[in-house]
């Protein structure tokens, strides 16, 4: 049951968006997030949303799947909306009852914020939807590499992410196994209130942690015996390569971002 969880939310497709270099995609996302925060009209958001839709269509991932990614933040969005509607004051009073009142400014800011959050999440989720975790870690390593001079261990960080990704399925499998073993000895993971259920996880977590540490020890030994000595002097099987359309995409985005923020 635990095995079926997909890591990250990468959906493999053969599209231009997928083929873009991971570094370019990270840069584009950053530029557009900044641009998004400079927008102060609904027209701007409309324009932005249209652009996101074009990217989704180009990525060949179904709109439904992309929208599904918004589900977890729905509560946050509704919360933001209500806070603004009830607490931001100013403009006409639309409705009031004793000390509670809704004013036009509040409604406006509420919907404004919600549009911003929706577009932000939609757009950033496109990055993880169209970029495999491995490319993503490579891209992050590359982008962080200028910071190596200041002592940021960029390649080690990316190695850590790679290993974490590699071991997620292994540890899930192990958790499943331990759970079954404990259930066979009468452990109960399903009934009781929240606190009881949280407590019942202890016999699962303790062995899982111990075995994770043991694995880490073994892995360190195996890596050392295969000549791993940090990022210095390492080469790669998959080099990231900029191609001409990566630059075209970047230039288009910069023009768009500048246009949107000065509009």
């Amino acid at each position: 049951m635990l095995k079926d969880i997909t890591i990250g939310q990468y959906i493999a497709r053969d599209s231009i968006i997928h083929a873009l270099d991971a570094r370019i995609k990270i840069m584009i996302t950053t530029i557009l997030i900044i641009a998004l925060f400079t927008i102060d009209t609904f027209t701007g958001f409309g324009f932005f949303a249209a652009f996101v839709l074009v990217v989704v269509l180009l990525s060949k991932i179904s709109v439904k799947k992309v929208l599904k990614g918004l589900k977890p933040i729905l509560i946050l969005v509704l919360f933001t909306l209500f806070i603004h509607i009830f607490l931001t004051k100013g403009g006409e009073v639309l409705w009031s009852w004793r000390f509670i009142s809704i004013e036009s400014e509040g409604v406006y800011t509420g919907f404004f914020m919600v549009s911003r959050i929706f577009i932000l999440i939609l757009f950033t989720s496109l990055l993880t939807l169209t970029t495999s975790p491995l490319q993503l870690t490579d891209g992050i390593e590359y982008i962080l590499s200028p910071l190596k001079r200041f002592g940021v261990p960029a390649s080690e960080l990316s190695m850590m992410m790679t290993i974490a990704l590699r071991f997620i399925p292994t540890l899930l499998e192990e958790a499943d196994k331990i759970m079954k073993a404990q259930q066979a000895r009468g452990a109960d993971f399903e009934s009781g209130n929240l606190i009881q259920r949280a407590k019942s996880l202890i016999p699962l977590l303790v062995p899982l942690f111990i075995s994770a540490f043991r694995r880490a020890d073994d892995l360190a030994l195996a890596m050392e015996s295969r000549c791993y000595r940090g990022g210095e002097g390492r080469t790669r099987l998959h080099e990231l390569e900029f191609r001409y359309y990566d630059f075209i995409a970047l230039i288009i985005i910069i023009i768009l971002a500048v246009a949107v923020s000065f509009y």
Partner: protein, 273 residues
């Protein structure tokens, strides 16, 4: 000079409360191209010996030379690790990447080999262990025997002179064990790679050039498989399982039936029928 020369080696783990060193007075030579099998029960020091060959540990006393390089000299560490590849017991805990080809490429990447050359080596190594076509697979989708063969490929891609396998079959089912042993034997016989195979399954010593029996940190016997298996009683004393055919032959010999030295079921069948 032999590929691996061990002379007068003792090893004592730090923070170890026991008085007995993990290894005591080990003398051993392994020739290039040999298939050497080290057998011993738990705690006999065989895994410690394996780690010494790869400079994961250095001897407390004595010297080890690998291809003429002294393991006590820290300057030699990485050169030796490139020449002596290690495969460990747990197939899950030695694969680094979430794709087979990335994992096999890990060693060559660490050595700083150019990208095109890595690609060639990865494909060649996977073909040698019979895992060609699995390049894009995730390790957790493979069987134990397949994972272990990927681990072997990862070592071969570094083009070592020698592979040390530390109980590579201990956690596998019989099918996986067979796959791994066939791969190892192929690499030794066809590709001329020296193999040091550490195991507690005695059957796996049958095809060896040299068998070393370890007990309590010392070498009990070394010699050809036939010479070792003749010591049935002594091997039983140190808690080793003797292959059934060897044991049957020994009982027949005790009953004064004239029977040659037997290593496998097939030989026993030939001798009796």
């Amino acid at each position: 000079m032999s590929l691996i020369e061990i002379s007068g080696v003792d090893f004592l783990y730090e923070n170890d409360n026991s008085d007995r060193p993990a290894l005591q007075n080990i003398d051993l030579q392994i020739e290039a191209g040999d298939f050497a099998v080290i057998i011993g029960s738990n705690g006999s020091g065989k895994s410690t010996l394996a780690k010494l060959l790869n400079v994961l540990l250095t001897p407390s006393k004595g010297e080890i030379f690998v291809a003429g390089l002294n393991t006590n000299n820290p300057d030699n560490t990485w050169k030796i690790r490139q020449r002596v590849g290690m495969v460990f017991q747990n197939p899950d805990n030695q694969l680094v990447a979430s794709m087979v080809e990335d994992d096999v490429a890990f060693g060559p990447e660490n050595l700083g080999i150019p990208t095109q050359e890595i690609r060639k080596r990865v494909d060649k190594a996977l073909e040698m262990v019979g895992m060609a076509g699995f390049q894009k697979f995730a390790p957790h989708k493979l069987s134990g025997g397949q994972k272990q063969r990927v681990a072997i490929a990862g070592v071969i891609a570094m083009e070592p002179d020698c592979i040390v396998l530390d109980e590579p079959t201990a956690m596998l089912d019989p099918q996986g064990r067979k796959e791994v042993m066939e791969t190892v034997q192929y690499l030794n016989k066809e590709k001329g790679i020296t193999v040091v195979h550490i195991t507690h399954f005695m059957e796996e010593a049958v095809n060896a050039d040299q068998v070393i029996v370890m007990n309590q940190g010392q070498i009990l016997h070394k010699g050809s498989p036939k010479s070792i298996f003749r010591l049935v009683e002594q091997l039983k004393d140190v808690n080793l399982d003797i292959p059934v055919a060897v044991e049957v032959a020994e009982y027949l010999r005790q009953e004064n039936i004239d029977i040659p030295d037997i290593l496998s079921i097939d030989e026993l069948v030939d001798a009796l029928c």
